[in-house]
């Protein structure tokens, strides 16, 4: 029954491009992209509490792979190549950084996006002699939306499966106390690495699938750090440790950001920063957790009862 509902919901979502015009479908592409980015970001950063600002590093690599290979390989193989490159890069980065403490990882992940951008720029200028590439793929916005919808659904399904698996329980504690987690038989290094690679591969695919929307691609376009920050705010607003949290954060924030960037293009970064701070201060565990707390207060403080019993 649940699966049937999920399939029906997906089918309904897939018809949306027929309802909305070109502009609306363009928005749907962005929306589906960010929902997938935030959900896959939370797959790794939610349980491990390693705040990754490397989203755009992988996203950009995905987009650039399409820009480089779109005239050489058939489209499905281009996507496969992007996934492979993203996974390999995540594996190398993960192996070298996941032993770092959280704060150093944040700094490294931010630097990674810039490093990749500079490396690609250097390579294009000095080796290929071009800066900027064209993507001529016969894909309309609705085709891109359908691909993102499928990827987003797969990401949610994968997250749900991980939560239900034995790994799910381990993941709930991995960010709490590494000593006890390890002493519960959890291989911390491997668990973090597997999650990081899975999450980064999906992020790379989002970049690859969205790339044809740009037509013209250069490093400063596809490695825009705003993508990393938006993803983090969206996931945190909804709740990074919950399955539906990132989606709940991504939908309203994407619409809000679209409106803000159209209305206040010059002050967008300031508004983004303020929003970031507001989310972290006011809703540290996300909207869903806050709603739950609010509801349990309404039900006669049932959440605080055990504490009283314990002290009695």
């Amino acid at each position: 029954m649940r699966y049937l509902l999920a399939v029906l919901a997906l089918a309904a979502l897939a018809t949306l491009p027929m309802v909305f015009g070109d502009y609306g479908t363009g928005m749907l592409v962005g929306l589906a992209g960010y929902v997938t980015l935030a959900t896959s970001w939370a797959m790794f950063s939610g349980p491990t509490r390693y705040i990754s600002l490397a989203t755009v590093a992988f996203f950009g690599v995905g987009a650039y792979t399409v820009a480089v290979l779109n005239e050489v390989l058939p489209y499905p193989l281009v996507l496969l190549a992007a996934a492979g490159i993203g996974a390999t890069m995540a594996l190398l980065v993960g192996l070298s950084t996941l032993r770092l403490a959280g704060i150093y990882f944040v700094i490294f992940s931010f630097g990674l996006a810039e490093l990749v951008r500079q490396l690609i720029t250097w390579f294009e200028v000095n080796v290929t002699g071009t800066l900027g590439r064209y993507i001529f793929l016969d894909l309309e916005a609705k085709h891109i939306f359908w691909q993102l919808l499928a990827l987003g659904a797969a990401t949610l399904a994968l997250s749900a499966w991980i939560r239900r698996s034995r790994l799910g329980l381990a993941l709930r504690v991995i960010g709490d106390d590494e000593t006890v987690a390890a002493h519960s038989g959890i291989n911390l290094a491997r668990t973090k690495l597997v999650l990081f690679v899975a999450s980064a591969t999906i992020i790379t695919l989002v970049g690859a699938i969205q790339a044809p929307r740009w037509v013209y691609v250069e490093p400063s376009i596809v490695f825009n750090p705003t993508v990393s920050f938006l993803t983090v705010i969206m996931a945190l607003l909804g709740g990074a440790t919950r399955l539906w949290g990132p989606l709940c954060g991504a939908v309203p924030l994407f619409l809000l950001f679209e409106w803000l960037s159209a209305r206040f293009p010059d002050h967008f970064s300031i508004l983004l920063g303020l929003m970031f701070m507001a989310v972290v201060y006011a809703l540290p565990d996300g909207v869903l957790a806050a709603l739950e707390k609010f509801r349990s207060k309404g039900n006669g403080n049932s959440a605080t009862k055990p504490a009283k019993e314990a002290n009695a």
Binding site: R166, L169, A170, R172, V173, D176, D177, T179, V180, A182, H183, S184, G185, I186, N187, L188, P306, A307, E309, A310, N311
Partner: protein
Amino acid sequence: MLEIDNLRITYGKHTALGGVGMAVDKGECVVILGANGAGKSSLLKAVGGVVRPASGVISHEGQDLAQVPAHEIVERGIALVPEGRGIFARMSVADNLALGCHPARARGGAEARRREVLELFPRLAERQKQLVGTMSGGEQQMVAIARALMSNPDLLLLDEPSLGLAPIVTKEVFAALGRIRETGLTLLIVEQNVRASLALASRGYLLEAGRVVGSGSAEQLQSDPAVQRAFLGGTSEPLENELN
């Protein structure tokens, strides 16, 4: 069962343990005594795979443990209850225990073990759904010990189980440890509560500044002048007084 030989642990230039040797036999309860900074916790952490020794041998059932990572050490049957409660406060008692069964060696017979563990800690049986963070310090320590027991260990390492607990709660925790000892499980305990731990243990070692300065049976240590001087305030009143 556990043999430690010439174990050295260093943190940068600081030497926490400077060549320590000891042995624990199957079914024994051994206590490591020592003041703050004597190197007791470092020793336990090295056995648990949490810190890497600079040199020396830690051998468990004839196999060297010195380079084995913590998650593998649990699979070899050694469970650590770290200092300051090894629990997950935002999870329920039941989930903490479920986490204890995560190691492959603990998956078989988990349900039977859960019943045994809850028999040892009846107070936890009544509160399985309670969030551990809302429990008292003593109850949290019991959850930590119960979680470690769920991993089906042959050797249980306890790092200062009475730390920060009121005397009456300490008594309860040690009573539970006594019941665990009766099951035949091997225990290695680091403690500052000398009376309670010597009443429980069969043997002990005294650490001072990273070296073993005394060892013997619980009775011998109790009357050892060094122990008396350091911990018991120079008197040798019967242990029962402290525990009652």
